[in-house]
Symmetry: C2
Subunit: 312 residues, 2 copies
């Protein structure tokens, strides 16, 4: 059988991924194009933003393994066969990277470094009062692998952390948790910083709109590391421009790359990152993808299967 790698990688990305996948899948026939093997010989697709229709007409396809953590685009692609098991990438190295980005953003908001960067541009020397980490309340929305890892990392660095998830869930060591729509307003009301790590689903799309911003206290900040479509851009701009929100750190956008004319680029209270909060590391991700291929071949349960109805 053959394994199709269907990805919109550029040359540099192929140069990193191809040897990593070959090393992790010795003895497997890896192909990069449909023409390299008959359709009926392909039983696994490793995908990263696959070209539209790339997975159609593969009668023996038995596993679609995403190389990215988020699968919302795959679920929205009607050409991705819905009956084939789909697995997300859950890589501890990516969880750590996400936790680092969340911590960097929270430290920067807590310690005023975004304001100091603006001052540097104007050559202004002005010190702002400083609070202790345990005086900063951080709400982490989304308690999947990444949300839990980020929340615990923040707590271990001294912040008061509350984790919130859409559904009730188990205790996460070191942090307070809350769940469900009714609890959200209360969690937001006391948050100095809100870190978004929710999956993108019909229920969470546009969750960061005017009413959510109004539920956050004056001077609060948003760190969006999940999906651009979680945010209503015009509402965010209004909340920042009114002074109600202080700052937003955004790694993800409705359209990526962020269009050059988008107002986020030049807004003084928005920090734009080019979707780098947790880049997949081919070295570790290839090994994790290979484990699921092996599970498939040995008839064992697949890890990190997506519940298509739930959306993640």
């Amino acid at each position: 059988m053959s394994i199709l790698v269907a990805a919109n990688f550029d040359a540099d990305e192929w140069a990193a991924w191809w040897p990593a996948l070959q090393a992790a899948l010795p003895g497997e026939h890896l192909i990069r194009g449909r023409s390299e093997a008959p359709a009926e010989a392909i039983d696994v697709a490793l995908v990263a933003n696959p070209p539209l229709g790339a997975l159609q007409g593969l009668p023996r396809l038995a596993l679609i393994q995403s190389l990215w953590a988020g699968v919302d685009k795959l679920l929205a692609d009607a050409t991705v066969p819905a009956e084939v098991p789909l697995a997300r990438m859950v890589d501890p190295a990516m969880n750590d990277a996400m936790a680092e980005t969340a911590l960097w953003a929270v430290l920067g908001l807590h310690r005023g470094t975004f304001a100091y960067a603006a001052q540097q541009r104007d050559r202004v020397w002005r010190q702002h009062p400083q609070r202790r980490a345990d005086e900063i309340h951080v709400a982490v929305l989304g308690l999947g692998q990444m949300g839990r890892t980020a929340a615990q990392r923040l707590a271990r660095n001294g912040y008061r952390v509350t984790g919130w998830s859409t559904r009730a869930m188990a205790v996460v060591e070191g942090i307070t948790t809350a769940a469900g729509d009714a609890a959200l307003a209360e969690v937001l009301a006391s948050a100095h910083i809100v870190v978004n790590l929710l999956p993108l689903t019909p229920a969470t799309r546009g969750i960061f709109g005017a009413s959510t911003f109004a539920a956050m206290p004056a001077g609060a900040s948003l760190v969006n590391l999940a999906r651009g479509a979680h945010v209503v851009d015009t509402d965010l701009l209004a909340a920042l421009d009114s002074g109600h929100l202080q700052h937003a750190v955004l790694d993800v956008f409705h359209s990526e790359p962020l269009p050059v004319e988008h107002p986020f680029w030049s807004h003084p209270n928005i920090t734009v990152l080019p979707h780098v909060a947790a880049q997949t590391d081919p070295r570790s991700a290839a090994v994790i993808a290979a484990r699921n291929v092996q599970a498939l071949r040995q008839g064992q349960p697949l890890a990190d299967r997506v519940d298509r109805r739930r959306g993640y």
Copy 2:
């Protein structure tokens, strides 16, 4: 007896410090000016950049308690009586603040956020390859209270940390340590990021000059959180302009506020912070100062006495 608070505080700082000191020293007679008590009634001076000569002619002065951690300016002030015991401020809250600033700077250098900030100004969407924290070697120079706290915080967040001190010293849990001039070149040679938390002494003044930068690998970065006089400014500019060093995060400068015409302000590879890496928190520092006042009054040993010969 009276306690003289000799400080160059502005109105906001007095508004924070005065009630904190009064709360921490109940029953003590606190004064802000020499005219408020006879010279022979003053036995303690709490100082923060005291006006020149403020401590002269106090025959019963028995304790000079600094409200700042660094005492290099006090030791350089010939009007500060050399025979009176001098104590530094060692405040766990300041150690934590310093560790947070060090961690913020290291995360930013590791994750490329200073480069992404420059890209945002130019509306450039470009992702850079990402390394794991355990692939980043951080050298922390100076293993006093702040250096140790910062080094351990970095190690707990996954970085490979080597701590270096001028003199041989005890093991610091969680990090590799080295000491003495001979070991410095080796520590620098493998460092991706050097964090300076050395005390300023004749031996460390100008330590970050051309030869130290040459000992660091190409692409390394400097985080100076100690004193501006540790750095030879022209050598730092040369090392950055040649591309040998990648970036510098500077919280301290030869002259503060950093003069408006100084080239650091506008250098694309320098991040300027206005001496805020670890601001003293009046709430906790007043309590720590009060403990030493109490020790003096009760004839007990003073904490955190400065060794004037050693310089810290």
